[in-house]
Symmetry: C3
Subunit: 216 residues, 3 copies
């Protein structure tokens, strides 16, 4: 069982690292920059979670396998970018799987460290989306998760299942599987049906004006 969890965790790491490396390669970073973005996209969520709950050094720093898997993904993108781009759909599926694994694992770890249920669910979500936010900030973009389709909500739903199961004292493994399945299913449905969250009604300000005002 423990080997299964680690395997799934490393698959999630690999897939998120692919997304970071892809974003870096498209912005013409050098090989070092691509590798850094691989590591950041795959591990920032977990690192921030571990720092916040006081579990230092974070697992991604103290266990070399997270680094190795991240570098592997970075190198793969660096040399075979066109091939992997063609597998776009597969990457989206893997990404949904990674999100599902990370949100569940993150919520469980936060519960183990004694956080309140609501905060544990949010830290599970943070574990899932944190890497993508850090990737986008490093590339000087507004994080895609703040205005894309249902992504963070899927992670929050999956993490919430874990937290509710814990509060009801249900056995851990089935609730973890249920949470991961819910997140995965929501994410795939959002991709297939183009589900979006609503945006606020701020009719008179277009995006460039907004940025311009901020910069003043």
């Amino acid at each position: 069982m423990k080997t299964l969890v680690l395997t799934l965790d490393l698959i999630g790491t690999f897939v998120f690292a692919l997304s970071g490396a892809t974003a870096g390669a498209r912005r013409r970073l050098d090989i070092f920059g691509v590798l850094v973005l691989s590591f950041v996209a795959a591990n920032s969520g977990g690192i921030v979670r571990d720092v916040l709950i006081g579990a230092t050094p974070p697992a991604a720093i103290s266990d070399w396998r997270y680094l190795a898997v991240s570098m592997l993904a970075g190198v793969a993108i660096f040399f075979w970018y066109p091939v992997i781009q063609r597998m776009h759909n597969a990457v989206l599926w893997f990404d949904a799987a990674g999100l599902a694994l990370f949100c569940v694992a993150g919520a469980q770890k936060a519960l183990v460290f004694g956080l309140e249920p609501i905060m544990a669910a949010l830290l599970g979500m943070l574990t899932g989306i944190g890497g993508g936010v850090a990737r986008d900030v490093l590339l000087s973009n507004v994080p895609a998760v703040f205005r894309s389709d249902i992504y963070a909500v899927a992670a929050l739903a999956g993490a919430s299942v874990v937290v509710i199961g814990d509060a009801l004292q249900l056995p851990t493994t089935p609730t973890a599987l249920a949470g991961a399945a819910l997140c995965f299913g929501l994410r795939l449905a959002a991709i297939r049906y183009g589900w979006h969250l609503p945006t606020a009604r701020t009719p008179e300000v277009d995006e460039n004006d907004g940025a311009g005002n901020q910069e003043r």
Copy 2:
């Protein structure tokens, strides 16, 4: 007394969350992005302070009320953005009050954790301004506090009063009130009279060139 402090702290959280949600709504983020910016703008300063002084998990993570108040502000902006925009002056006043409360509370907490006086004052300032910096970085803007009117200086002044009072072993409550009043007064005066800090003389480089050179 403790209830008063918590009430003031939560008011500060609410007001800073309003600023984050407003910035997010103007950049057309979805409801999730707006809520994240609410939480980030209201709590990043305190979270970074707590991580730096080793007080993990940070109060904003372990106490659900900070989250609840932040979400409330985000939802309010999301649905009543035009109404709150019309109350622009009130928001500026509340923001000054939030800054005053946060810088004083931040400096006190740093002193309790045994930091040196100068560093405690700076961490007080960081508590006040950190949320706005994180908000601007997430939206891919240069933090407004780095080139706006007297803002960080007001927070530093308020925090310094707390630290000096502590060094002179004055009673805590009056010095906290004096620090908050100084910060609040400086901030309002800066708004009313348009006080600015000087910028360096770098005559030949305009802003776009600067950015362009960096990007090369």
Copy 3:
């Protein structure tokens, strides 16, 4: 010996603070923004390292000398920007020296806190480059280290010498000197001969398109 190390460490801090202040002044930040960038560029790498390994409060927060030296550099740039710009070559040399000192000191500290060899080398590198990354993120630029010449690699090489020497139980001081010398030499050679790392072959996407797609 200890005085020598501290002196070198503070020289490194000063030089990195100069780079932060210069970047801030060119973007027309006010004096406060320039000072913040001085401190951030000089101390972020060490602060992040200390938070990750659980050494809180970080040295840059608990020892006032890092702050004092950073502020000194910021004030110097603010008032004598043209003079220091003319000393451009000297600044590049000092920057290489700062990088060499930071990567070695960072790796040693990580080893002392019990990290694995590979992670200690990476944290040494992070200590060297972290400040520049934070500086660029705050100014809303893609970090220069992700697409410039040999910089991070030099830091990683220097840190690796320390880690290998530790694994072989060689005496600390000579390996530290060898690591610093290797980093310094690599960095100067990269400047002189224009060494670059390769970038990935992503022929069809130019930089603006990349950014545009991300923003969608």
